[in-house]
């Protein structure tokens, strides 16, 4: 396959060998599951069960609301014992509405929607509807509702479904294992998604550090003429949507546009497997494969985990902590989020749980920037991190924005490579948040202003109408007093 170079990037220590040969094992069903109503980008789902309700596996617990949302289903049969606020698996550590399910160990399935016997005879809308009803979100970590992305076929002329098996984050091997152990399911899911998108071609892109996955997927896809499996260079962040699109097609997605604008839609391999399960068996997304790794974990593993399992239980299943962990990460070490607590649940977007030792985290005190320019050379987005960070440090966020701050994908390459150990991405995330907040404030103010102006105009109109009415009445009275007979005649 002809490949195209992508700009910059880094070659971190991948440390995937800790789990890459560990076959996926199922986690024994925990006694309690904690299911946040928002495990996706978009609006939170609204709860449709009550405390005390007996539910079965796969039963709807919370319904998606609005255009961009996803429902939540019961990962096991049992009893809803609480619906209340719990710490969310988010760096803020803020509470979030969470359904607590006490499992009964029977693992009884609810009545599931009927399998779609021939998905390729079904309409794209039917597939999309099934994917939406199954609560599937982007499982690479972005957690964007997959059904919304499958609907792009209606608005864009798509040529390629690009299945992302790059897995460029260090440590993570869950996608690698899914491809090696469930290749046929992934390929089937991809074919169903391509059908829903109206994309004639499927490309499955896998980084070359996963030769077994490449081989197995090539074999699984060999029966289908429209599927191409290609190895891509080991280069972080190869798995970034726009960069992978460029590497495979040579097409550079314009700023502020979608990859769909250049005819490509990217989905994760684990998402494809979830689509297969939803369409072929009617099963909603209630579990996922999570890589539990890092030097502090006693027995690193790839685990099929019911959504809602507490991270602490998952770590205990992997032998607990063998060493002191400096950092706990939800996801990969480059773009993953810090865990605010180990009592938070695994959610649909949790690709990894990492407990990193101080040696692995390799943090040292920051030093002054020596302007080495490495961040400029390696930025995959062609930005100038050193200058953006300097502006942000001086609170000139607009200046940083002019330099393309909002084009930054927070891949973390600059922070990783900085010899002075400057937390560049931390600055960028802060500035993006502050600019977004300012933007919201500005819009709110404009809205308030518009409302105030509208009210003033309305009051003015009302006053004017009263004045007119008063004048008219006065005129009428005058006319009446001058000519009472005429009025009588009219009456």
């Amino acid at each position: 396959m002809k490949l195209f170079p992508i700009r910059g990037g880094i070659h971190p220590d991948y440390r995937k060998e800790a789990t890459s040969e560990k076959a996926i094992v199922a986690l024994p069903l925990p006694a309690r599951l904690y299911l946040p109503v928002q495990q996706h980008m978009g609006a939170p789902a609204s709860v449709v069960v009550e405390v005390g309700a007996q539910v079965k596996k796969g039963q709807l617990l919370a319904r998606g609301q609005g255009a961009v949302s996803a429902p939540v289903h019961a990962p096991a049969s049992g009893t809803v014992i609480a619906i209340g606020e719990m710490t969310a698996p988010h760096p803020s550590g803020l509470p979030q509405l969470t359904i607590t399910l006490e499992t009964n160990g029977k693992d009884e399935w609810a009545e599931l929607p009927a399998p779609i016997a021939d998905p390729f005879a079904a309409t794209p809308a039917q597939i999309k509807e099934r994917v939406a009803a199954s609560g599937i979100v982007g499982m690479g970590g972005a957690t964007f509702p997959s059904a919304v992305k499958l609907g792009l076929g209606g608005q864009y002329k798509l040529e390629i479904l690009l299945l992302n098996g790059a897995e460029c984050e260090p440590y993570l091997t869950c996608d690698d294992r899914v491809m090696r152990e469930y290749a046929d399911e992934v390929v089937d899911g991809a074919r169903i998604m391509a059908h829903a998108l109206g994309a004639p071609k499927i490309v499955i892109a896998i980084e070359e550090n996963k030769p077994q996955a490449l081989e197995i997927m090539t074999k699984a896809a060999s029966a289908f003429a429209n599927i191409e499996v290609g190895g891509v260079p080991v280069q972080y962040p190869m798995g970034a949507e726009r960069h992978l699109t460029q590497a495979i097609t040579g097409r550079e997605t314009p700023a502020r546009k979608l990859t769909a604008d250049v005819g490509v839609v990217v989905h994760n391999v684990a998402t494809a497997r979830a689509v297969h399960n939803a369409v072929r068996f009617g099963r909603p997304l209630t579990s996922r494969v999570v890589t539990v790794s890092g030097g502090a974990i006693a027995e690193p593993k790839n685990v099929e985990v019911p959504v809602g399992t507490k991270v602490s239980e998952l770590i205990a299943f992997c032998g607990g902590l063998a060493k002191e962990a400096k950092r706990f990460v939800n996801g990969g070490p480059m773009m993953g989020q810090p865990l605010p607590s180990l009592d938070v649940p695994v959610v649909k977007g949790t690709s990894g749980i990492l407990a990193l030792t101080a040696g692995e985290a390799n943090e040292h005190a920051t030093q002054p920037c020596i302007r080495c320019g490495t961040c400029v050379t390696i930025c995959p987005c062609g930005l100038v991190p050193v200058q953006m960070a300097a502006f942000i440090r001086h609170d000139k966020l607009d200046k940083a924005s002019e330099l393309g701050l909002m084009d930054c994908v927070s891949c973390g390459s600059c922070s990783y490579i900085c010899p002075s150990g400057l937390p560049l991405v931390h600055y960028f995330n802060y500035a993006k948040g502050a600019l977004n907040a300012a933007d919201r404030d500005r819009r709110k103010q404009e809205q308030t202003k518009a409302l105030v102006e509208a009210r003033a105009a309305r009051l003015e109109r009302q006053a004017e109408a009263k004045r007119q009415a008063a004048l008219a009445a006065a005129a009428a009275r005058k006319a009446q007093s001058e000519n009472p007979d005429a009025n009588k005649a009219n009456a």
Binding site: P333, Q367, I370, C381
Partner: protein, 357 residues
């Protein structure tokens, strides 16, 4: 259990640091330094040790009066400044010239601007230029090679005297190749004639000729530079454009008028060309951050060096050229940036191609 979330990702870091970078640069300077320490003997060794120590001492003093932690001495930047300053001085320079250079380099060029990373001008070159314009006699007093342990070389005691009091300029001093050609030209002797009397290109490459303490051996400096390239501490952009521009200007102009202009090869192998191209102009702090900017900067350094060597009063122009281009670096960084992903050079989103819709 609650965990303190005090930073965003990434939660891993490359095994690099400022210290490591500085250490590698110092290591790359070792071969050329050892060679010239042998070539110019004890006075040069005294000068080198003293200059490095002076820069580190002054750095410590500056940090102390600013209440900054002395631990930042270990970043190696002051040692590197001292090392480069020593390499750019004539090998038998007396201590007080070096000390004044060190004060200018560390106090004025570095700490008055805010310390490491904040300086606009290359500290070592500011130190060198300050003493060059203040003490033109001492700063152009080069000597012929006096290898260690050779019969004609000064012994330890004599060397100490040279280091403290200076040496008899009339009897011992020798001109650098650039200086010789310039002087001869001012006496009306054509360049094509005078270049025949300077050391051969082979000697210039190997380093067996009069010159500043660290600059004579082009081959060993090149070896150090290639080491830095291999270690990815520097990239090819600045060295290649500096040397390329010098070579190009020299070649073109000497082809037009060989009596007036020295050849491209002579320009490249003489003076501080290699030291400047690989170690001075590539200074991170004072050069542009983008590769495209570095190309412009390197061209500027090469062109200005040639201009100063050819037309100005000083025989060597590398230090001036570097400082002049340092002054332009903020402007280069302002106007030359990489093209952002998905955008045109002007920063507009790329147009959608027809048929992609």
């Amino acid at each position: 259990m609650s965990i303190v979330v005090d930073k965003s990702g990434p939660f891993t870091h490359a095994p690099n640091s400022v210290q490591q970078t500085m250490t590698l640069v110092l290591a790359a300077l070792v071969p050329a330094t050892l060679f010239d320490a042998w070539l110019f003997g004890w006075p040069a060794i005294f000068l080198f040790v003293f200059t490095v120590a002076a820069c580190m001492g002054i750095e410590a003093f500056c940090l102390k009066i600013q209440n900054r932690p002395l631990t930042s001495l270990s970043d190696g930047s002051a040692a590197l400044t001292g090392w480069l300053l020593a390499m750019s001085l004539p090998p038998w320079t007396p201590w007080w010239v070096a000390l004044i250079g060190a004060v200018f380099a560390i106090c004025l060029a570095k700490h008055l601007f805010g310390g490491l990373g904040q300086n606009v001008f290359n500290p070592a070159m500011v130190g060198r230029i300050a003493v060059l314009v203040s003490f033109p006699v001492q700063m152009t007093a080069f000597v012929a090679p006096h290898p260690l342990f050779a019969a004609a070389s000064p012994d330890f005691a004599q060397s100490l005297a040279i280091f403290i009091h200076g040496f008899d300029l009339d009897t011992i001093s020798a001109a650098s190749a650039l200086g010789f050609v310039k002087t001869e030209l001012s006496r009306g002797i054509a360049v094509s004639e005078s270049v025949g009397k300077v050391p051969s290109v082979t000697d210039m490459l190997l380093g067996l000729h009069p010159g500043s303490f660290g600059e004579t051996s082009a081959v060993l400096i090149l070896a150090g530079g290639l080491f830095l390239l291999a270690k990815r501490i520097i990239s090819w952009h600045i060295p290649v454009t500096v040397l390329g521009t010098l070579f190009l200007f020299g070649t073109v102009f000497s082809a037009v008028d060989p009596a007036r202009y020295t050849s491209g090869v002579f320009q490249v192998v003489s003076g501080a060309s290699f030291l400047g191209a690989f170690f001075i102009a590539t200074d991170y702090v004072t050069s542009p951050v983008s590769k495209q900017g570095q190309l412009v900067y390197g061209f500027g350094v090469g062109a200005l060096t040639w201009l100063i060597r050819t037309y100005a009063g000083y025989p060597e122009g590398m230090a001036f050229a570097v400082l002049l281009m340092n002054a332009l670096t903020p402007i280069i960084d302002q106007y030359i940036r990489p093209r952002a992903f998905g955008r045109t050079r002007k920063g507009e989103p790329l147009p959608l191609l027809k048929g992609d819709k």
